[in-house]
Symmetry: C3
Subunit: 329 residues, 3 copies
C-alpha cells in the first residue's frame, strides 16, 4: 500500500483531496476498485465520476469539480505508466538451470541466468547476465544473447542468430528460419541456401508466433527499440530501423527497408525491396508496392497517400449511390 | 461393423433397401468405399449414383429412384455427424505422467490426467479431471485448466491464464502473451506492463498457431462454445462472446467486443474497440473500423453493409468496362 | 579456397581476367569482399564496378569493359547457385539419439537418424534414413517420415501424418491439426471429427509457423516439390499440386485445389473448394472466390483477371482526380 501523497510525490503531481488514502494497486477506469488508482486523459474526464477508483490521475488543466481524490500532472498517461511500475513488477524466475534443461558443449552462461525445464541451449551459444530462457525454448548453435533478455516458452532460435540485451521474445516465435528463395529450373524449384543470420538489437520486443527469416547473405536486422506484435513475417534481408512499431499480422517480403520511427498498422503487406521513410505511417490492411517517403501516411490496396485513397473511396461511394437513385442496378 | 438398420434406429431414420448390410465406417460422398456410409443433402442428391458407398443418408423428402440403400432423415448433415460419432472416437492417451514431464511445486492434478513427454507444468497450476497435456506443452505458473480439456503438443500457456472444461487448444497456440501496449516518450517506446489475464471458457476450440494476448488490466475473454481457426490474433482486452465462429488468419485489435453467435470469415481485421453485434456476419478479407449492428452482414475495405459494397463493386466494374469501349486507356 | 579457373570449369563458363585468383566464398553484389565471388545478371551489370568482389559471374553476352575478373555463363543466377553449393553446405547434426529425447514403443528409426534434445517420437512412428528431428519437435503416433528430411526445432506433427523424403519443415510449423468443421444446432457449434490425415510429398519445404490441417475424410495433400513460406494456413482437404510456390501469410480454405506450378503471392486468401489451374499466378493480397483458369494472372478483392483489375483501379483514380479539379470534395 502506498499513500496518494507519496505517489503524487513520485509523479511530481499535485494532490486534490485525501492525500493520506492508501492505494493497493492500479487499474483501468472501468475496472478500478475502491482502493485502486486510475487515470483519465482529456477524452475520459467526462466519465470521472463513474469510476470506483480511490484516486484518479488527471491533466493539470482539469478544473471541473469532482468527488474523487485527484492527482494533477502534465501527462496523465505517462504518469500512470510510472505509477504502474510502482506496483507491478513482472515476475522473474530465480536464477539457475533446471535439471531437465539441456546445455550443449562450450556454452557460456552469464551471471544469474535462468534456464527453464526442457529448454535446450546448443553448443557454442553465449547467454548474457540475468537472461531468462523459459521452458521448451530452443537456442541454436553459436547463438549470442545479451543481458536481461527474456526468451519465453517454446521460442525457437536457429543457429548463429544474435539477440541483444533487454529483448523480449514471446512464445512460438521463430528467429532465423530460412529465407524463401528458389531458382526455377525446368519447372522445379531449387533452394538457394540461406547463409546469413538475424540480428535483433537491444530493447526490441517481438510478440508470439512471429517468423523472422535469416538473410540469404549478410543479416536480417531488427533495430534497437523496435516493437513487433504477434504473427508477423519479416522475410530475409529486411532491415528494420529503430523504434519502429509493427502491428499484428503484418508482413514484409525480402529486402524491405523500414527507417526509424515508422508505424505499420495491422495486416499490412510490403513488397520486396520497398523502402519506407522515417516516421511514415502505413494504415491497416494496406498493400505497399512502392517506396513511401519520410513522414507520409499511406493507405489502400495498392497503398497511396491517405488523402488520395480517401478521395477515391469517397468518389466510388458517391457514384454507387447516385446510380442507385437514378436507375436500377 | 454396425448394420444399416441399427444405424437407422440410432438416427431415427427410415431404411430404404438392404437394412442388414454391415457398415464398417463413414466417409465423404467421393471417398466412401463399398462398406461405408455417407450422406447427401439437397445439393448432392444428383451425385447419388456416383458414390461407391454402401448406404447414403438422404433428406426425408427425397423421392427419386436410387440403386443405393438409403436412410431417410430430417437433417442429413446432423444425422451423418451422429453416425460419425458411432464409428469414430478421437484417440486419447491413457492417464499418467510421463517420466520426462516436469511438474512444479504445488501443482494439483485431477483424476485421470495425462501429461505427455517433456511437457512442463509450472508451480501452482491446477489441472482438472481427465485433461490431457500433450508432449512439449508448457503450462505456466498458477494456470487453471478445467476437466476433459486437451492441450496439444507445444502449446504455451503463460502464467495465471484460465482455461475451461472440454476446451481444445491446438499445437503452437499461445495464450497469455503480453498485449501490445507502449507509451511513446521522445521517440522511444516504453512498455505498458500487461497485468491482466486470459479467460478461455468451456467448450472453446482454438486452432494451431493462434495468439491470444493477456489483458492490460482485467481479462481477455473467449466465451463459451466459441470456435477459433488457425493463425488468429486476439489482442489484449478483447471480449469474444459465446458460440462465435472466427475463420483462419483473422485478427482483432485491442478491446474489440464480439457479441454471441457472430461469424467472422477468414483474413478479417477488426479495429481496436469496435463492437460487433449479435449474429452479425463479417465477410472474408474485410477491414472493420466501425461498430457492426446486430444481424448485419458487412464486407469490404473498409467494411460496409454487404449490399452497399456490392453496389460499389458493380459500379466500378461497369465504369471501367464502359471506358474500355469508349476510349483507349 | 578454390581458384577462379576451377570454379569456371565447374560452371562451364569462360574466364576473363585472373583465373588464378583464390576465392574464399560467395556473397551478394553489395556485401561481397575482395576474396569473394558474386554475380550480376542483366539488371545489375551497371553496378559491376561498385562491388568489392574478386570475381563476378556475368551473362555470356556481356561485352562491356570491366576492371573485374569475370566468369561468363549462359545463366548467371543458376551458375551462382551452383557456385554457392561449392562453398556452402548446410550444417547437419551427426547421427544419434540425444539421451533427453523420448522414443515411444515400436518406433522404427532408419540408418543415421539424428534426434535432438527433448524431441519426442511417439509410438509406432517410422523415420527414414538420415532424417533429422531437431530439439523439442514432437512426432505423433504412427507418423511416417521419409529419408533425408529435416524437422526443425519445436515442429508439431499430429498422429498418422505422412512426410516424404528430402522435406524441410521449419520451426513452429504444425501438420495435422484438426480441420475447422462444425455443424450448428440450436446456436451451438458441434465439432465434426477430423478423421483424415495429411500427406506432405517429397522435396517439399514448409516455412515457420505454418498450419496444415488434417482432412475431415481422406487426406490434405501437399504435392512433390512445392515450396511454402511462413505463417500460411492450408485448411482441411486442400490438394496442392507439384512445384507450387506459396508466399508468406497466404491461406486457403477447405477443399481448395491448386494445380501444378501455380504461384501464389503473399497474403492471398482463397475461398473453399476453389480450383486454381496450372501455372496460374495470384497476385499479393488477392481474395480468390472463383476458379482461376490455367495460366491466368488474377489480382484484387475480389480477384479478377489482372488486366480487368488494372483498368478498374485506373478508372477510379482518374474519376477521383477529375472530381478534385472540377468541384470540391
Amino acid at each position: 500500500m502506498i499513500s496518494v501523497s507519496e505517489i503524487a510525490g513520485r509523479l511530481k503531481g499535485e494532490v486534490i483531496g485525501a492525500g493520506d488514502k492508501e492505494i493497493r494497486g492500479v487499474n483501468s477506469l472501468d475496472l478500478a476498485g475502491p482502493d485502486e488508482l486510475t487515470f483519465a486523459d482529456k477524452n475520459y474526464l467526462s466519465r470521472l465520476d463513474q469510476t470506483r477508483a480511490a484516486c484518479v490521475i488527471v491533466p493539470k488543466e482539469f478544473a471541473g469539480p469532482s468527488s474523487k481524490t485527484l492527482i494533477k500532472v502534465e501527462n496523465p498517461k505517462e504518469a500512470f505508466l510510472a505509477a504502474l511500475y510502482l506496483f507491478y513488477r513482472p515476475e522473474k524466475p530465480g536464477p539457475g538451470i533446471h535439471p531437465s534443461a539441456v546445455i550443449g558443449e562450450n556454452v557460456k552462461l552469464g551471471q544469474g541466468v535462468a534456464v527453464g525445464p526442457c529448454a535446450v541451449i546448443e553448443e557454442g551459444a553465449e547467454i548474457g547476465d540475468r537472461t531468462v530462457i523459459e521452458a521448451g525454448a530452443v537456442v541454436g548453435k553459436r547463438v549470442r544473447i545479451g543481458s536481461d533478455t527474456v526468451i519465453h516458452a517454446n521460442v525457437s532460435l536457429y543457429h548463429d542468430v544474435r539477440i541483444g540485451s533487454r529483448v523480449i521474445l514471446h512464445s512460438g516465435t521463430v528467429i532465423g528460419s530460412d529465407g524463401f528463395g528458389f531458382v526455377e529450373k525446368d519447372g522445379i524449384q531449387i533452394k538457394i541456401p540461406q547463409t546469413g543470420i538475424v540480428i535483433v538489437e537491444d530493447d526490441v520486443e517481438i510478440g508470439s508466433n512471429v517468423s523472422v527469416d535469416r538473410a540469404t547473405f549478410g543479416a536480417t536486422v531488427i533495430g534497437k527499440g523496435t516493437k513487433i506484435d504477434n504473427i508477423i513475417q519479416i522475410a530475409h534481408n529486411c532491415r528494420i530501423g529503430q523504434n519502429v512499431i509493427i502491428a499484428g499480422q503484418s508482413g514484409m517480403a525480402g529486402g524491405v527497408v523500414i527507417e526509424d520511427n515508422v508505424i505499420i498498422a495491422a495486416q499490412v503487406g510490403i513488397k520486396d525491396h520497398v523502402r519506407v521513410g522515417k516516421r511514415a505511417i502505413i494504415a491497416a490492411k494496406s498493400a505497399v508496392k512502392d517506396d513511401v517517403p519520410p513522414g507520409a501516411t499511406v493507405i489502400g490496396i495498392p497503398a497511396k497517400d491517405a488523402r488520395v485513397t480517401a478521395k477515391e473511396w469517397a468518389t466510388l461511394a458517391r457514384l454507387a449511390k447516385k446510380r442507385a437513385v437514378g436507375k436500377p442496378a
